[in-house]
Subunit: 443 residues, 2 copies
Amino acid sequence: MEFLTGVLQKKTLEITELMQTGMEGRTVVVNGAVHTIRDMGTIAFLVLRKRDGLLQCVYEEKEADFSLKDLKEADTIEAEGVVALSERAPGGIEIRLRSVRILSEPAEPMPIPIAKSKMNVSLETRLDLRPISLRNVRERARFRIQEGIVRGFRQFLTQQGFTEIHTPKIGSKGAEGGANIFKMDYFHRPAVLAQSPQFYKQMMVGVFDRVFETAPVFRAEKHNTRRHLNEYTSLDFEMGYIDGFEEVMAMETGVLQCMMATLRAEYGRELDLMGITLPDADRIPAVRFEEAKRLVSEKYDRPIRNPYDLEPEEESLIGRYFQEEYGADFVFVTHYPSRKRPFYAMDDPEDPACTLSFDCLFKGMEITTGGQRIHDYPMLLEKIAKRGMTTEGMEAYLMAFKHGMPPHGGLGIGLERLTMQLTGDDNVRETTLFPRDLSRLEP
Amino acid sequence: MEFLTGVLQKKTLEITELMQTGMEGRTVVVNGAVHTIRDMGTIAFLVLRKRDGLLQCVYEEKEADFSLKDLKEADTIEAEGVVALSERAPGGIEIRLRSVRILSEPAEPMPIPIAKSKMNVSLETRLDLRPISLRNVRERARFRIQEGIVRGFRQFLTQQGFTEIHTPKIGSKGAEGGANIFKMDYFHRPAVLAQSPQFYKQMMVGVFDRVFETAPVFRAEKHNTRRHLNEYTSLDFEMGYIDGFEEVMAMETGVLQCMMATLRAEYGRELDLMGITLPDADRIPAVRFEEAKRLVSEKYDRPIRNPYDLEPEEESLIGRYFQEEYGADFVFVTHYPSRKRPFYAMDDPEDPACTLSFDCLFKGMEITTGGQRIHDYPMLLEKIAKRGMTTEGMEAYLMAFKHGMPPHGGLGIGLERLTMQLTGDDNVRETTLFPRDLSRLEP
């Protein structure tokens, strides 16, 4: 009987292993995809693309037992060679090739120059060719950074006593209601895709006190803008026993700080590659909605057109204002008007026209919506009635409140938007592996 | 201007904080839900349900500034009291109550006895009442254990150089094809829900070499069994530059070991509560499909009815065989017949009727399907043609192969099934927060 006992030791080495001291002069085996070949005549440089970066290999005919002509770009290979120090190579090392084994070959050459640092190819084309355009190391670096953001989110909340949950994406009714819901057929019954885990995470506050989820959400919005997606990854948390909605903002501040610390500690290579300076999340100003409106209206001489919502240009100006006045990259805008918030938002007892809620803007774009929720059953029923809504389909949600719920609040962060603002991209599709929008359902 | 600088220090303490040495005699503030009240006449025991367990509080009229009658089960409260050691209290401590503040009250009493250790309520009823039945501490413990499983999965793969990805759940075509696909309308275009991230994770091997995802998948299977769900959480990984499919099994062995180590280190309370003994993943036997069939047929005197697939009863007997003969909880069954595997499975060059693939059985139930995939473009096209399939809708998937892909393989683990086998439950709905099946779309 054969037994598996754990990960098999590979004979091939990764770049971080090759860069350790004492490797110079050693014969090693490496693998990777042939990213580019530069033939200089007597010598050639072959760059391997590996998961942890690019590795320069040097080919000299007299030292190798194969011909350079046997290799082409996009081959995947396993190569044997000797480690040498080289100031001009990325990471300070290179491999002097001895022999090579071809693992696979492409059937056709690349249609785009993926080995160039900037490809000069339109976003549309890059999205159409996503499986190969992401092989460009700058393109893929965005998603390594995105990974770091998610890791920071989970790590911080786990430390803070939150439980991770997995809630259903197919349901009988949307959390927010409205027209922006994808409908589907579920064994001959009408069903919808979840716009948000809102109802479920609130119900689970009654069970675990503090919960989070990192999962896809679906919005059938007919906006085709640079900041909208019809499917995105939502970083959600919800926490019970809060003393006020400020506690939710304080928790988000801690989350953002942990994200930045994680990126700083473990994603330096990708940050350097993209030329990213991490924003400061140590001290985040909070400003009331109508005050924010007034401040930017006055400073930038812009009339207030809609007193109940922030236009994208206003968000951008608020970001600019707090950058200029306080050096702040993030800003909390609080006390949004009740009429623009969902029924479950807790109204401010001191001014019921506004809610104990907030958005977090990052460099002038909303990345988070959150706030305190109504936890009292009669108050919730009253608000539903006042909005002319029906409780049909909300029986389970209301059950949680009927049998007692602590004061609670929470938020949702749009992962792709947060990544976009961090990487300085101007379209959220850049930071989405395979975006879904009004016109794009593939790849 | 107000600034947020990080998590606010709560005045309330959690159980782990209360259990630290030196707390005896201190006046503290705690919060939680009133789980149960036992009035013994001169003294009463009030148990608070908190996220990290149950906390016993003692009420004596002469010491408290409130009346016991002011409190009822399912109130959420903030209470002040003095820490006392008590051998008979859970965790060895209790709180002698001084004063209380009611944070919220239920509108109706609980319809089920959630404070009982075993509720004696049918699965159907517990699922109908999920938002409150999960307030039972044994019910919720399952999902803490599930969290530990997911944490172990991610932690191990991150250490092994995998990148976490987020792939779309709405697409134009299913990965496995067939009839088990949920269909939907996407802005007047036909679309489907992802049965698996298969195509996307394979494409991303060409970008990151090693990737994983933990996300929902959707299967419109018309089975209503104790082991089927129509939406579940799939733990997927895919790895490039493998020397054989054994490397995928070895990686899964490492993953399972890390899951168990995480549970042992951080979820002891929940394991004790559920009475769970962790399985041994240190040494997992691997047996060929037809050999496994033969072994159980001979030992348990059971005729082989279907030579191409394993019936649930056969899986169960294979589990029993390897438990009896080798003391093994897990077993890899390898070399499944090609006709029962999807087109992308790599056929065994030594016997093309079977594939370089495997299932992992845990206590006699399949929890994983994995194997090596075809990475060669012409070979992939040939297999598609041989199956009479069309490449329509697979353009992006095939693009990755056309432009070169390393040898690779991977797997998918059903999270709820793995949890179910670990907790010893007999229905996968027990270990699903909000199950979706043929008849259940709510809550």
